[in-house]
């Protein structure tokens, strides 16, 4: 295998090299004197057309100085990261603007693949921007990206089953238990599959319990009693009647489908479930309500994990100044509004949450803003990917968690991951 795979990857590299060469030449051709420079914007594939529209709008506004070419990355987050990493490791000059998941800027910054934001550009990229979103783009006190869209979870529930939204996990599991006894739909829908969503759940619970996964300097695991408490909540949820039978395989979309099929009373998920329910189940939609994410410790509001995309400027691009400018345009108020309305992604600009256009289609905008203002950030370390894999591997399936010993095991796994020691599963 290695021989064959080795040769295949080598051939791939060669092919990629040729491609880079070709696109480099093409880039030279189109950026000749007089013509606009081509800026390649690599971002997640967007089906709504909002991203293409933003690219076109900014190209027009540049007055012929640059044209933004929107290059779609693969659909899965792992595929996106793999492609970007390969390009940057090969010093691809054809990557000008990178759409990075909020967990990647540290890794890319540490590797020297993205440029730091300074001066007035930095000021523009952070003004009116959500504080937690800026934190995701900051590494060792320096800003390496401009927050594009944000995202966070709310508690969605059905008011025909639940009269008072639960304030804590204990209350929610209790209500689910009562509903089950009455023979009513009672499942709590949460992401329990072995993937990034499980890390998000764990991070939300640990920080809501007042702890953190890593120490502030990101050099060692912190965990401790809050992590044990978080692991206990996950275990209790997975072993209670509230758990969906397919919890250990569920991702956001399976949760949405289960809620729409009417088997669940609660759902912890991103706002995309709202327009989806409106379109697919108008009857159930009448009963769909939302509330803040339940607390782990009574009286201490939950700190929900922030998600989203940060835009960074590639270190090897030929037109860094134009790329910074174009990035600011892509994330400006109008484009973020289009992205929110068309693409359904919550913006990173605070003031937009009061915009009438947005609150009209998203009546929960104020709750999303409140959650984002109190959001937690996933561990910030260049070895994040390894840390996340260690977390999901150790905590899956949630029903098998033994709070004390699982967290002790996790500590060792995270230590190895931080040292990039050993294998990843």
């Amino acid at each position: 295998m290695p021989g064959i795979r080795g040769s295949r990857s080598r051939r791939l590299t060669a092919a990629a090299g040729l491609f880079v060469l070709a696109s480099g030449l093409a880039g030279c051709g189109s950026s000749g004197p007089g013509g606009p420079a081509t800026l390649n914007w690599y971002n997640f594939p967007d089906d709504s057309g909002a991203l293409q529209q933003a690219a076109d709008r900014c190209s027009r506004q540049s007055g012929g100085r640059y044209t933004i070419k929107y290059d779609k990355l693969p659909r899965g987050a792992d595929g996106q990261r793999q492609q970007l990493v390969r390009r940057m490791a090969a010093h691809d000059a054809g990557v000008d603007i990178l759409g990075l998941d909020v967990t990647w800027p540290t890794e890319f910054a540490e590797a020297g693949w993205i440029r730091e934001w300074t001066g007035t550009m930095k000021k523009q990229a952070t003004s009116d921007t959500l504080e937690a979103a800026v934190r995701t783009a900051t590494w060792q006190g320096h800003l390496f990206a401009a927050p594009y869209n944000s995202n966070t979870q709310l508690l969605w529930y059905r008011d025909d089953l639940v009269t008072n939204a639960p304030g804590t996990w204990t209350e929610m599991l209790g209500q689910a238990d009562a509903l089950a006894k009455q023979g009513k739909p009672h499942h709590v829908e949460i992401q329990g599959a072995q993937y990034e969503g499980l890390t998000v759940w764990f991070n939300t619970l640990v920080t809501s319990a007042g702890g953190s996964i890593l120490t502030p300097d990101a050099q060692a695991p912190s965990l401790g009693p809050p992590a044990v408490l978080a692991a206990r909540v996950m275990h209790d949820t997975a072993t209670s009647v509230a758990a969906d039978p397919s919890l250990p395989n569920q991702m956001e979309d399976q949760n949405r489908l289960a809620m729409e099929s009417g088997t669940a009373a609660f759902e912890l998920n991103y706002p995309f479930v709202y327009p989806s329910m409106r379109a697919n189940q108008p009857e159930l939609f009448k009963h769909l309500r939302w509330a803040p994410y339940p607390s782990v410790v009574p009286g201490r509001p939950a700190t929900v994990t922030i998600g989203g995309i940060d835009l960074a400027v590639g270190a090897y691009g030929r037109h860094p100044d134009l790329a910074f400018e174009a990035t600011l345009c892509l994330r400006d108020r109008e484009n973020q509004l289009t992205n929110a309305l068309k693409g359904g992604l919550p913006p990173s600009l605070r003031s937009l949450y009061q915009a009438a256009e947005l609150t009209e289609s998203y009546p929960f905008a104020a709750d999303v803003l409140a959650a984002l203002d109190n959001a937690s950030v996933r561990p910030q370390t260049p070895a994040y990917q390894n840390v996340s894999i260690a977390i999901t591997h150790t905590l899956s399936p949630p029903a098998d968690i033994r709070p004390e010993s699982t967290v002790a095991d996790l500590r060792g796994q995270i230590e190895d991951a931080l040292g990039s020691k050993g294998l990843i599963p």
Binding site: G3, G6, S9, R10, P245, Q385, S420, G422, I424
Partner: protein, 310 residues
């Protein structure tokens, strides 16, 4: 073969000429082989050597300037990791079970194709269809078929079962996809072997009163042994490197990853070129051992070496 066979020459001169001719031919032969050999070296020997080179270093794709030699410690890390042994175990299981099923099914298909009186072309074409479909496309159709909610096969299962998320069921489905995909290949190799069996030998056995099973066991199979061993060798080497079916069907989650998946994840997700290359080299060694065992112990003929052995 040799041109120097003119009868009129004295004996001594003839031999010398023959040697001369043989030597020239040998040189020509080497020259003719050289381009192929150079291409082979470039596309296989170099990558293998490079993988070994990488496997002896601590090398993270994100920090290439921090690469340094670590000797054999990557191999120690891999061999002492439960993930490697788990993946190896899954790989061996998939290899053994899928190749065994393929051999039986492939033999049956080969017999059908060999004996088919009418519609011969149609039968052969129909049997070959799975092998002609792109593996990833086929794997996706299996994946959808087994996914609850969208799949017609999942719909046949009890409510709430998601077979691709359970380790044993998923391994079973991976084996099924592999068998479906590569049985035609096995059947083709065995069909070639069947063609080697002289018809009169089988007829003679029939005259002696041998039943179908006796003829198969005592006459056909022994005569087909070289073809069967070559087919088994090819399929075992192939099956041991299983990647695409697993990548599409489960992505290697829930303990279904093969050694190739483990190598891929360490190379491309963890970006750890050192560890990933060590996994690749170890996988390569496993494949080499399998080939060695087949050729030395079972006496499988290396491709092209068959005539000497028969």
């Amino acid at each position: 073969m040799t041109p120097a066979t003119s009868l009129g020459d004295p004996a001594g001169k003839k031999t010398a000429k023959l040697f001369e001719g043989a030597r020239q031919e040998r040189r020509l032969g080497l020259l003719l082989c050289a381009p192929a050999a150079i291409v082979m070296l470039a596309v296989t020997a170099y990558p293998i050597a490079y993988a070994i080179h990488l496997s002896l270093q601590r090398y993270d794709l994100r920090f290439p300037q921090q690469a340094h030699w670590v000797g054999l410690s990557n191999y120690v890390a891999v061999l002492s990791s439960p993930f490697w042994w788990q993946a190896l175990w899954v790989t061996v299981l998939i290899t053994l079970v899928s190749v065994a099923i393929e051999l039986v099914l492939g033999m049956a298909l080969a017999l059908v194709m060999h004996r088919a009186v009418f519609g011969r072309g149609t039968v052969r074409t129909a049997v070959l269809i799975p092998y002609g479909i792109v593996t990833v496309v086929a794997a996706y159709s299996w994946q959808y078929a087994w996914t609850p909610g969208v799949g017609y096969l999942a719909a046949l299962l009890p409510q709430g079962s998601a077979p691709l998320t359970d380790q044993w069921q998923a391994i079973g489905l991976i084996i099924l996809a592999e068998v479906w995909k590569t049985t035609p290949f096995m059947a083709l190799l065995l069909l070639a072997g069947l063609a080697l069996v002289p018809e009169e030998t089988v007829r003679a056995a029939m005259v002696d009163g041998a039943t179908f099973w006796q003829r198969l066991r005592l006459v056909v199979l022994p005569l087909m042994k070289p073809a069967i061993l070559v087919a088994l060798l090819f399929r075992t080497l192939d099956a041991f490197r299983v990647f695409d079916d697993i990548y599409v069907l489960t992505g290697g989650s829930n303990g279904t990853g093969s050694v190739s998946i483990l190598g891929y994840d360490n190379l491309f997700t963890a970006l750890n070129l050192g560890i990933g290359s060590a996994i690749s080299v170890l996988t390569f060694l496993c494949v080499a051992v399998i080939a060695f065992v087949f050729i030395k112990v079972f006496g499988a003929a290396a491709p092209g070496g068959e005539p000497e052995r028969r």
